[in-house]
Every structure is written in structure tokens, then in C-alpha cells.
Symmetry: D2
Subunit: 143 residues, 4 copies
């Protein structure tokens, strides 16, 4: 089984917490995106470049599971994997850990379709797809 | 089949949009919560009251599907249903529509467990559960 | 003294609170914008229309004062006034009240310059400016 | 003139952008807070610790100026200084730079009062204040 992932580490912002004194569940969706951005940058295909070329990886589905809460100021790690690459679709899988003891806080995935500037579904350019396939992980994930 | 839902209408905020000129996908998670809040208020059990009594409906899972984009300034409607009520768990189901023509923009659900002030899973108080059951929808939903 | 204002009422979202159990200070900036959007819509010049015509009211300065905290689920009113209209610049002034007892929660202002699609400062179109001037308030405001 | 500052570097998140394709002005308020958090951590007085001891630096005023836009994926640096320390009040001053060429993007300040758990204004504990005074900058700032 092939496995490749990119870890992104950052601290919880105060603005990301809510009245339960923990990180609001919508913040994890933003964190997944942070992990995805870093993943793309690391494999040499920054998402900003994809957009410059007129392509967008539009989000069609997101799923998130919350295991343990994160709190203000602690460091978290988002571990991002690319788990599916099709002609028009990619799927990313995420795990969020508390950095201090590697407790799993959250698990999620996002499904994206390739669209052009008019929001029309389009084939992922061949060279992009080849590059993405090199970093595809073949792992079991429960989601 | 029994069906009960609460509709919440509001306008898209500029801050909720992103560089694709459409609403960022994380904003829908906040909108679902807005719908859930209104639902609870309408059935006479505002969530702020639940918290005052030391209970919290902690989010353990969220799923969202994105069908069409929403843009700045347009009115959207979040239609919220309660689709499952167990001793410690509830599930809400959401549909987001563009108000002008009732185009379906997004569909989602959230799973919550009842926890106490120490974040320990606990049984939903009997009177809360009875009230919730009155407003349970028995509908098919694809998610 | 001429006075004209637009009131916008909505409920505090859970996602807008923070670990102090009150609304995070950055949320008020978003609320001001909500008030400004409603103001523009009410005077017949929705901001989305201005953008369609290739103009943007770019924010160059924001100031906010926080008097009392707002909490989850309570209704707030944003009272918005246009307090200055120049050839390239407009200033809005905001007051945020708790709806239940009209306690003043926050006071703020935002300064905007008119820019075109290339982010170049430009004169506000004459017909826009004339319309805006009709709704200008001549009030003292402490900020 | 004494000067002390803490630099915090991070990348612009997609969720922080808006339909103008640039970072939304409310995001800078969150970035200032990020800078302030890092400042406190660096001087050995993490804000999370202050809260544990029952003190809060409640925000009473924020001011932000926007010079140039930031865009998705670029690195920014928040330079944070403590510019005033009184018995119950502190003022922080911020500059946000584009990391690649040190272009100034934004300038801001935030005023905080020390409150206890009941949101009552209180004197900053003597040992905290002494520590803070060591890192006070005596600089001119235009705001």
C-alpha cells in the first residue's frame, strides 16, 4: 500500500473558538482547506497556480467527524492525503491531531470536481492529473 | 410519513464569499447551525436554554453537499428537519435554497450527542426528548 | 440637523461567539458590513449592483468600539448612517444595540474609497453620488 | 527610543478571501489577534495562562487601516508591538506586511482593559504588568 501525506502545523486562533470554550466545528473545514493548500504546494502544484490557468477544484461534498475538542493556543497538525484521482474528480482525506500528544481530534474528507471559469465541469488537464496520481495514497479510511 | 420543518431566511453576507466570487463552503456549516438554532427556538426549546441547564448538543459529525453556488446579497432559505432522536443522540437534516426561485443549493446533516458541562456523554433529559420527538420528521433523505 | 438611518435586526450566531462566551470582536466588523449592505439596498442602490457596474467601495479604514458584550441567540440591531460623501470617499457610522432593551453594545465607522476593477481609485459616478447625498446624515458622532 | 516587536508569519487562507478576490477586511482583525497571541507567548506570558488565572484582556477598541490587498496563498507577516501599559489598560500596535517584498498591507491597533471572570474591570496583576513593561516599545505610530 502506497502512502503519502503532508503535515501542516499551526496554532488554534481565539477567533476559532466558541462559547463552549472549544474550537467551533466549522473551523475544521477551514483547517482541512489549509491542509489541502499545503499539500498542493508541496507537490509542486499550488492551487493559486491552478486558478491562474483557469481551473478550479470546486467543493461538491465535505464530511467531518469530531472526536476530541481543540482549545485556544494549542498546536494542531492537519495530515492531508489525496485518496482518489479521476478524470474530473479528486478526493482528499484529512486527520487533525493535537500536536503535543498526537491525539486524533478530527477526521474528514472533501470531494472536488474540476470546473472552468464559467463553473462548468471539465476534465482535469492531463499534466495535472499525472502529477496528482504520483502522490495518490492507497489507504483504507473510515468515512 | 410525518414531516415538520422550520425555514430560516437571510441574506448572504459579503464576508461569507470567497475569491471564487461565491459563498465559501464552510459558511454553509454556519448556516446549518443558524437553521438548527431557529428550529429549536420555534419548538419552544431554544438552545441557549438547554445550555443554561448544563446540557450541550456537541457536534460529532457534519456532512454537506454543494449543488449550486450562492452569491453575495441573495436571499437564501435554510430548511431544517429533525430526523433522528435517540437517548443520547439527535440528527438534523438541512436543505439550503435560493429564495428567489427555490433552487436547491446545498443539502447537509449534523449528528449531535448530548454532553454535560464536563464534556461527558449523557442521556438527553426525558422532557427534552419527549418534546423533540413531537417534531421528528420521518422522511427519506439522501445523505 | 438631518438624520437618516437604516436598522438591521438579526440574531447572534453560535459561530460568532468565542471562548469568553461572548461575541468575538471581529464579528462586529462583519455586522457593520451587514448594516451597510442593508442601508444601500434600502436607498435603492444595492452594493451588488454597484459591483456589476464595475465599481467597488474598497475599505480603507475601520474603527470599532466595544461597550457591552453580545451573547449567543440574542437579537441585535445594527443602526447604519452615511455620514460623509466626497467625490471619491464615503464614511459610514454604525451603532449596534441589544434589541431587547436598546443597550448600546458597539459603535464604529468605516471609510471607503471608490475603486474600479483594477483597484484604481476613481470618482464615484455622479448619479450614485447624488443619490447617496440624499441620505447623508449630519450628526455628531464620537469616533 | 526603545523598540521591541514580534513577527508572526503565515499564509493567507482561501476562506479569508472575499468576492473581490482579496482578503476580507475583517480577517485582519483576526490576524492582529494572531500577532498579539504570538507576542504574549514570546515574552513568556501566553494569553491562555492569563485566562487560567482568571484575567481577560477584553478588547474595547480596534482600529485598522488598509493600504494594499493581500491575496490567497501569499505569506504575510504580522509585526506586533506593545505600545502602552497602564494599570488597567494595554495597547497593541500592528503592521501587516507581504512577506515576499515587505510591502505594508495594513496598520492597526487594539486597546484592551483587564477584566475578571465577571467581566468587571480590574487592575492588571503587578507581576504581569512588570513583565509587560519590559517589552514596551516607545515608538511613534500613526493611528
Amino acid at each position: 500500500m502506497r502512502d503519502f501525506y503532508v503535515d501542516t502545523k499551526f496554532r488554534v486562533r481565539y477567533a476559532e473558538t466558541d462559547a463552549m470554550r472549544i474550537v467551533h466545528h466549522s473551523s475544521y473545514i477551514v483547517w482541512y482547506e489549509e491542509g489541502r493548500s499545503e499539500f498542493m504546494r508541496k507537490i509542486g502544484l499550488p492551487y493559486s497556480k491552478i486558478e491562474e490557468n483557469g481551473y478550479f477544484f470546486s467543493v461538491v461534498e465535505v464530511k467531518a467527524q469530531y472526536k476530541r475538542p481543540a482549545v485556544y493556543d494549542e498546536e494542531v497538525v492537519v495530515r492531508t492525503r489525496l485518496v482518489e484521482v479521476r478524470t474530473r474528480k479528486v478526493i482528499f482525506y484529512y486527520e487533525v491531531y493535537r500536536a503535543s500528544d498526537w491525539t486524533l481530534l478530527s477526521r474528514g474528507k472533501s470531494i472536488h470536481v474540476s470546473v472552468d471559469e464559467n463553473n462548468k465541469v471539465t476534465t482535469i488537464p492531463e499534466d495535472y492529473r499525472e502529477l496528482l496520481l504520483k502522490y495518490l495514497s492507497v489507504v483504507e479510511y473510515e468515512l
